[in-house]
């Protein structure tokens, strides 16, 4: 009997060690190339942008001042991955519904068809509030450039279903315009982890309540 207890204890030890470590207080990494200017690190920082959302409002970096945001690219006529990704975005929307520090933004890759009216229809059907989730359109070049900055794929490709090739990745941007985390929007487990990352970032006291 003693032997069994001893053995099971020995067996459990590595697992206890594994879960015992406080991985939670580890800071999130900053994505992208880091330059050194005058001995100080300069990180990949999201540039200025200006888009129009589903309520015809201007959406710029100022919209996300003192907030963190999740960004993805999509188009409303998307016959492939978009609905699944949107389902995962909805999970994030629901979880942070009452927390003004978290905002979502979905950039279209198809500004020709995704007019403000079309985006409004889409957002209304998803039953989401504009101030919490912006669906934006704008200058095609700028939309694609911004996707690049978020490390997202966005390009026109007649050979794929729907005519656009784009990633289903969700990107987390912090209050200092730095990219801090990503998740495959097709994998619920990865989105679980992304929400843990959001919590960790929110625990950082530099974001005002």
């Amino acid at each position: 009997m003693k032997k069994i207890i001893l053995r099971s204890l020995l067996f459990c030890c590595p697992f206890l060690l594994l879960f015992g470590c406080g991985a939670d207080d580890k800071l999130l990494p900053v994505y992208g190339n880091k330059d050194m200017v005058d001995g100080k690190p300069v990180y990949h920082t999201i540039s200025d942008f200006a888009f129009i959302n589903q309520d015809s409002q201007l959406v710029t970096n100022k919209t996300f001042k003192d907030k963190i945001y999740i960004v993805d690219v999509f188009f409303t006529h998307c016959p492939t991955i978009c609905p699944t990704v949107k389902k995962q975005m909805l999970r994030i929307y629901e979880k942070y519904k009452e927390d003004d520090r978290v905002v979502l933004i979905s950039q279209t890759v198809d500004p020709k068809r995704d007019t403000v009216g079309r985006l409004k229809y889409y957002a209304d059907k998803l039953e989401v509030k504009t101030e919490k989730w912006h669906f934006v359109t704008g200058d095609k070049e700028q939309l694609y450039d911004m996707a690049d900055e978020y490390f997202l794929v966005a390009k026109e490709d007649a050979s794929v279903d729907g005519g656009f090739d784009h990633s289903g990745t969700l990107i987390l941007v912090d209050q200092n315009r730095l990219v801090r985390a990503n998740a495959n929007g097709l994998e619920p487990e990865e989105v679980d982890r992304l929400m843990e990352d959001i919590d960790r970032l929110l625990a950082d006291n530099s974001i005002k309540q």
């Binding site: 016959p79 492939t80 609905p83 699944t84 949107k86 909805l90 889409y122 059907k125 998803l126 039953e127």
Partner: protein, 137 residues
């Protein structure tokens, strides 16, 4: 005697285990086809997407339009429909790649997934139903 008894016992146990194991799925082709052609909008758990794409799980429309399912899959749907009290007005694109057997398998998978307990359909019925597409609507 004990040997025979234990043999019977383990065979029974094995069969029971086979049927109750998580991987047991009687509608394999249906599931694969569903996940490839349908899940992009109706989502792999059949819940759809809010007001954009209607659910197939526990859907009253699905239960009440069993005779039209084959035609809807093959030719799509342009009508505005009401599913579980919610209005859906986006057209469904036709899934032209599926033959009669595959359509049957998809319907059987949908009819018996996510808590759905709808009828089992046969290929002959689907072949008949596909002849009448457009006549009922």
């Amino acid at each position: 005697m004990t040997l025979i008894f234990s043999f019977i016992f383990f065979t029974f146990y094995g069969v029971l285990l086979f049927f109750t194991s998580c991987d047991y799925q009687p509608y394999k082709q249906g599931r694969n086809l569903y996940n490839f052609y349908c899940a992009t909008c109706h989502i792999d758990d059949g819940t759809g997407l809010k007001g954009l794409y209607p659910p197939l799980a526990q859907s009253d429309y699905l239960a009440n339009h069993q005779d039209q399912l084959a035609c809807i899959i093959r030719y799509g749907l342009k009508d505005t429909i009401i599913v579980n009290g919610k209005t859906y007005d986006q057209a469904m694109i036709p899934v032209t790649a599926l033959n009669e057997v595959q359509i049957t398998n998809v319907i059987n998978y949908i009819n018996h997934s996510w808590g759905n307990t709808l009828p089992h359909v046969k290929v002959v019925e689907i072949k008949e139903a596909l002849k009448d597409c457009g006549k009922t609507k």
